[in-house]
């Protein structure tokens, strides 16, 4: 970085200093090394047919790494008589490609829709694997603004975590935005994509296969994995009330397994959010600071959830900032 620091010492006024920086920036950009070659393929990618025509791949609970290549979220697909709808594409191009290959093992039908359930990188970075299929990329109407705002830092941290394996993982923009709901005909099978008010994020979608009554909740439901709030805790609880009313025979959470009977898996998540809500309100009432609240709130939940240490304190921070104005 000697080329950057040397002009600064010589130039005196701030404006010329910044001019120097800008020039240094331009040269640095053009000199920026690009990764060459293909990212490695993802090994051991399996899908399970949890209901007729509904195939799920369960992601791991680990932090994103070059070993798991960002295979950290549940993704899958629904097969109609005419075409296939993918629910998310996973956390990197290799995951998206593995999903596409899994589709190909099941059916030669084209992929006509890819639903981007919300703006988190563990769900969307694999979408580029489907670009050649020219599907409709479907997202919530709030998705594009969030995507634009976050893409730079998401790309940066993907490179930090995956290194060369991040090659080809791109931001894919949606081509169809959902304000309320859309019905999609996959051929003999109608799928409803529904937009929700702010909950996990401000751009959550669910996918419902009406023929098997299979509800794909993405991150509106966590099973075993610590739930995450990147929207609003009160909104999340409100949306869960509506989700509970959906008559489903099968369900797919965004993280965790589909084993329990619906709507039983909502209980644990409801309890977790209620504990945070009540204890954070009490902390605010008792004049605890945000930092004290993150140290104290919800510790009784620690034994019940995986990766608690990664997400719990952030949830409390978010709840505190929301609830302190009540």
């Amino acid at each position: 970085m000697a080329s950057i620091s040397s002009p600064i010492k010589i130039l005196a006024s701030p404006i010329t200093i910044f001019a120097g920086l800008a020039i240094a920036f331009l040269s640095a950009t053009t000199a920026k090394p690009a990764f060459a070659g293909e990212p490695p393929p993802l090994a051991n990618f399996d899908v399970r047919e949890i209901a007729p025509g509904n195939f799920v791949h369960y992601g791991t609970f680990d932090e994103r790494s070059p070993d798991n290549l960002g295979d950290n979220a549940n993704i899958g697909f629904i097969v109609g008589e005419k075409c296939v709808l993918a629910v998310d594409a996973g956390g990197s191009l290799p995951v998206g490609r593995a999903l596409r290959q899994a589709i190909r093992r099941v059916t030669p039908l084209p992929v006509c829709h890819v639903v981007l359930t919300h703006v988190h990188p563990d769900h969307f970075f694999g979408a580029a694997a489907f670009l050649d299929d020219h599907p409709q990329f479907i997202a919530h109407e709030n998705y594009p603004a969030q995507l634009a705002a976050r893409s730079r830092s998401y790309l940066n941290s993907l490179q930090r975590d995956l290194g060369a394996a991040a090659t080809g993982s791109e931001i894919v923009r949606p081509t169809l935005l959902v304000r309320q709901r859309v019905e999609l005909d996959l051929g003999g099978r109608t799928v409803v994509v529904q937009a929700w008010p702010a909950a996990h994020t401000d751009n959550d979608l669910t996918v419902f296969d009406t023929s098997t009554r299979t509800l794909w909740l993405s991150d509106l439901l966590f099973v075993g994995h610590t739930p995450v709030i990147d929207g609003t805790i009160t909104g999340f609880l409100a949306v869960m009330k509506d989700l509970r009313a959906i008559a489903a025979d099968h369900f797919v959470p965004g993280h965790g397994r589909s084993d329990l009977p619906w709507p039983q898996p909502l209980e644990a998540q409801q309890r977790y959010f209620t504990v945070i809500l009540n204890e954070t309100r009490a902390a605010i009432r008792n004049r605890k600071t945000m930092q004290q609240a993150t140290d104290e709130v919800g510790l009784s939940e620690a034994g019940h959830w995986a990766v608690f240490e990664l997400f719990h304190r952030r949830n409390v921070t978010s709840a505190y900032a929301e609830l302190e104005w009540e």
Partner: protein, 282 residues
């Protein structure tokens, strides 16, 4: 030279250019804490803000930054900056500069204190665009400078979208929360100031290009006309800016807050306080 005292357009220009500077290294957010003395970010910032003045490094006996190594939410990171020395008439901390060196606009805030402040201490919440050192530089009444810093792992806070549009009726609304049930004279009392304000970051994508971003640029707290806390701040502060600080009342009086934002809007809030009278709390 004080970056925060210069005209808004210049500050924005600086901020923008610094943002360009901030993306030069391809992988800025390294996993291990780098050497603070070797930081390539700090040189230009220190040059701009303090020119060639001597800054005593690692002065943890004068000033300290407290925060968690791994931030829970990069757009809302509580940071405490705390003097380790008493404020006396003879020797006191005049200003504390809080600098997030890898933020698009690194000078997050300058907080001015007096011997009457009791303690030169402030807690606020910051946005972190990238893994960064957060530095606190204390300027003594005789002009000496002392610095210490903490490394924090948090990223994406400045480019995270600005919050929902606040209804005009809520903008600038303030809330004070005291740490105790009532005020105690002659000792530092802890008070929290909350300001309803989007504190827009111009680096958020939902920010409309060409507009002057709305963020709080100054906060003045007085007690019966005497300064308690005087702060020049920036969009490195989280939305709904939040401050915790001390003030030492000698008798009953009016605690007054005056806030100004980049759209030249002025907001104010005040309460009368006296010993024994219950205060608004939690």
């Amino acid at each position: 030279m004080n970056i925060c005292l210069r005209p808004a357009w210049l500050r924005l220009a600086s901020a923008t250019l610094l943002a360009l500077f901030a993306v030069i290294p391809a992988y800025a957010n390294e996993k291990a804490e780098p050497d603070p003395a070797q930081s390539q970010y700090w040189g230009p910032i220190r040059q701009l803000m303090f020119a060639d003045r001597v800054i005593n490094p690692d002065a943890r006996d004068v000033i300290r930054v407290y925060l968690n190594l791994r931030a829970d939410d990069s757009s809302t990171v509580p940071v405490v900056v705390k003097a380790q020395i008493d404020q006396t008439e003879k020797e006191y901390i005049k200003s504390i500069y809080v600098i997030v060196e890898r933020n698009p606009s690194p000078a997050a805030g300058v907080f001015h204190f007096t011997p009457e402040s009791g303690r030169a201490q402030v807690e606020t919440r910051l946005r972190f665009e990238d893994y960064s050192f957060v530095r606190a530089v204390a300027e003594m009444n005789d002009g000496r400078l002392y610095m210490s810093q903490r490394w924090v792992k948090a990223a994406g806070g400045c480019s995270a979208p600005n919050g929902k549009k606040l209804p005009e009726s809520l903008l600038g609304k303030m809330k004070l929360r005291f740490d105790d049930d009532t005020i105690t004279y002659h000792k530092p009392n802890l008070v929290q100031l909350m300001i309803r304000h989007p504190n827009e970051s111009p680096f958020a994508a939902n920010f409309v290009e060409g507009q002057v971003p709305q963020f709080v640029r100054s906060v003045k707290v007085t007690f019966d006309g005497k300064p308690v806390l005087d702060a020049e701040v920036d969009f490195s502060l989280s939305d709904n800016p939040n401050f915790r600080f001390f003030f030492t009342p000698e008798e009953k009086g009016e605690l007054k807050i005056e806030v100004e934002d980049t759209h030249d809007r002025k907001f104010s809030h005040s309460i009368d306080i006296s010993e024994g009278v219950p205060l608004p709390g939690g």
